[in-house]
Point group: C2
Chain length 420, copies 2
């Protein structure tokens, strides 16, 4: 089958490293990069206005959002909370905690700041009440463990935390849930509590930083890339000459981009969380964006889950809505694979998959989401997907050759500024 | 609860980097490391004898094992196979391939070399036969694609390969299966075909190497570590002053070891595949072992799956038996968590989990495996597990404190040479 050919392109050097004297045509690359340069410039202009926060909006019933705390602040907060508890005990009033409610009914998408936030409903967790005695005991235990972590200055995983008192916690879900409650209670991010989930993400490309003091140059990370650390606050001194961040859903595409050293030709930073975004990768992306102020272009499968993944990066997940300000990176551009790309790039029928009923259901649910509705271009593309009932993976581009992604598709998308 | 305390241990420096003037007691560390030093010395003595290969054993009915090929060799082999096919077509005999059978019945564990190998049964895949026409067409197509990869000198993933001809392959299982057949047919490893699975593993510690030309120092990889690349042949110039490799089942333990910079105090290389070992991590481990000739100590959950994971590293998986020589690293020591450690280290009851029926079944099946039987110490520990019907994760050690693993458990295990 004949792929739509991009003529006269130098593309990525075959087998070479693309360092020293470049073999690609400099003028060509500059032409490809012109739209992304323009996008960056427009960002620099608008970013001079301070970004709105939840506090600026003064929305009735919205919770004050949680903040990044250093361990010392967390330690002091825990001590304040427990001192108050000691006081109520001595006054004969027993133990209780007022904990923000984190259920779906207490969440709202706020268009002005383009994020899901937590509202201010809360519930009282009394020790002297058979319905809440266990949860209040777990809350006390977790407060103690968090104090210990902040005092010794180390991190731990949610799994390790669970194992410190299996008898009380019973299941990891219980300790995980209360851990989120404790973050809300203190008013800090979960990461500030020094408890992390496992790391999944990898990064490669034109960025260097210090990680726990070690100098890491991601342009010299071979073909495998650097594992994104679970503790983003250990990353400092970020420096980069990249023009954009390429956020990739899956590792197969990441591996292609890494082996072809795509970032040597097109100055960018390539990130993947290998599927569903984890907290560490989201924090890392946010930190890069905040420091470098460069556009983020998303490359995901053309299916509802690809779009959902993009939306978790940009608008947040419901489970962590209390922490959306710290975890979300608004204004991520959907570069591909757009549902309209399937026809535009002539993806053959056998590489398109029929959407399952579940896919269609998920797609239709997304159509109703506020964060999709407010972006007419996203809405239109999602409608194409749901109407045609067709999906395709990034890998479908391999039908035109293994390097079609890096040598044809991406350069063409960039040159045409074909993102939404 | 009172953990069994190790007295007088400096352990890992709190918060510090452990570089420059070390704050731990040098004499203490030397004492802890004495048994592993002895193990290393015994390895150096025995390793002067050449290791036995399948060819040396002259086992009747055993297949010649596959070898690492460079792309040029693969290209020539494909051309030879297809030239032979062209000849038979011109002679009016049609197209057929003689493919080694890879089913369980054609596999055997060979004790002398401590690996599962493939026997020499094979089947003929004719094009002019309705039962084999599809498989022989897929074989031809994959041979063509492999030729293309070897000629352009790039790698691809199994998923990308599938997408080059969805109409023919139908499911990825079909293209994956034939890919293994083609490796057997050519007589090379699957990795030699330039087709890789996704990468999962991470490494940190006292080793440096070049990866696709970039110099990587794994002792300067912050707290997140370096992603193990999918293409192990891109790794060259391995150098290390490590005394041993610590192979860790899960990333929670890896993260603890990385943050505490365990390798600064106890010179080692720490590797994890985050669960089930993938091909890239197995190849990387093998390459480290072959280059450095240092012992490998395994730290896995005390359950049948932990042991199974160790056995995949050391004796191979049935699915890739044709490639066992290249993928397995014999003589991995089981450091922990040993079923007998649960009592020895006083792991409290609530951190031990009851084995499910499925766990017990898997454990009993393992008891029957040749590669367990030939190691009496492993057999004994597995019997303890199956008899007590108790399991425990590495994380169970956190019951004594988050850093119990790095400051107490591992140093004590090392000092006592308590591996089997």
């Amino acid at each position: 089958m004949a792929p739509p050919v991009r003529k006269g392109r130098g593309g990525v050097k075959k087998g070479g490293r693309g360092r020293g004297a470049p073999s690609w045509k400099v003028g060509e690359v500059a032409k490809v990069l012109a739209p992304v340069r323009k996008l960056r410039e427009s960002m620099l202009k608008t970013e001079t206005k301070p970004t709105k926060t939840l506090a600026d909006l003064k929305i009735a019933g919205a919770l004050r959002e949680v903040l990044e705390f250093v361990p010392e602040q967390v330690r002091r907060s825990v001590e304040r909370i427990l001192a108050a508890v000691a006081r109520t005990i001595m006054m004969g009033e027993g133990v209780s905690y007022v904990v923000p409610t984190r259920s779906a009914g207490n969440q709202r998408y706020v268009e002005e700041i383009d994020r899901i936030v937590l509202m201010d409903k809360s519930s009282t967790r009394q020790f002297a009440n058979s319905a809440t005695v266990r949860k209040s005991a777990i809350t006390t235990r977790i407060l103690g463990k968090v104090w210990e972590l902040c005092t010794t200055g180390i991190h731990t995983t949610k799994r390790d935390l669970f194992y410190t008192d299996v008898k009380l916690f019973k299941t990891q879900t219980d300790s995980d849930e209360v851990l989120n409650d404790v973050a809300c209670l203190i008013g800090c991010t979960r990461t500030s509590l020094s408890v992390v989930a496992s790391e999944k993400g990898i990064v490669i490309g034109r960025v260097q930083f210090r990680e726990a003091g070690d100098l890491i140059n991601c342009a010299r990370m071979g073909v495998g890339g650097k594992a994104i650390p679970p503790y983003v606050e250990r990353i400092t001194d970020i420096q980069s000459d990249a023009l954009f961040i390429l956020l990739v859903e899956k590792d197969a595409a990441f591996m292609r981009l890494a082996e072809d050293r795509f970032y040597d030709t097109y100055p960018c930073i390539i990130i993947t969380a290998k599927g569903q975004p984890d907290v560490a990768t989201r924090l890392f992306l946010k930190k890069l964006r905040a420091t470098l102020n460069i556009p983020i272009l998303g490359l995901v499968d053309s299916d509802p889950y690809g779009l959902k993944i993009l939306s978790v990066y940009s608008s947040g997940s419901k489970n962590m809505s209390y922490d959306s300000a710290n975890l979300t990176t608004p204004d991520i551009k959907w570069l591909g694979v757009l549902p309209s790309d399937l026809d535009k790039y002539g993806i053959p029928d056998q590489c398109r998959l029929e959407m399952t009923e579940n896919d269609i259901k998920t797609g239709k649910e997304l159509l109703e989401e506020d964060f999709i509705k407010k972006n007419p271009a996203w809405l239109k593309e999602l409608q194409i997907m749901v109407t045609k009932k067709e999906k395709a993976e990034i890998q479908a581009l391999s039908t035109f050759g293994f390097q079609y992604l890096t040598k044809q598709y991406l350069p063409r998308k960039l040159e045409q500024g074909d993102w939404i």
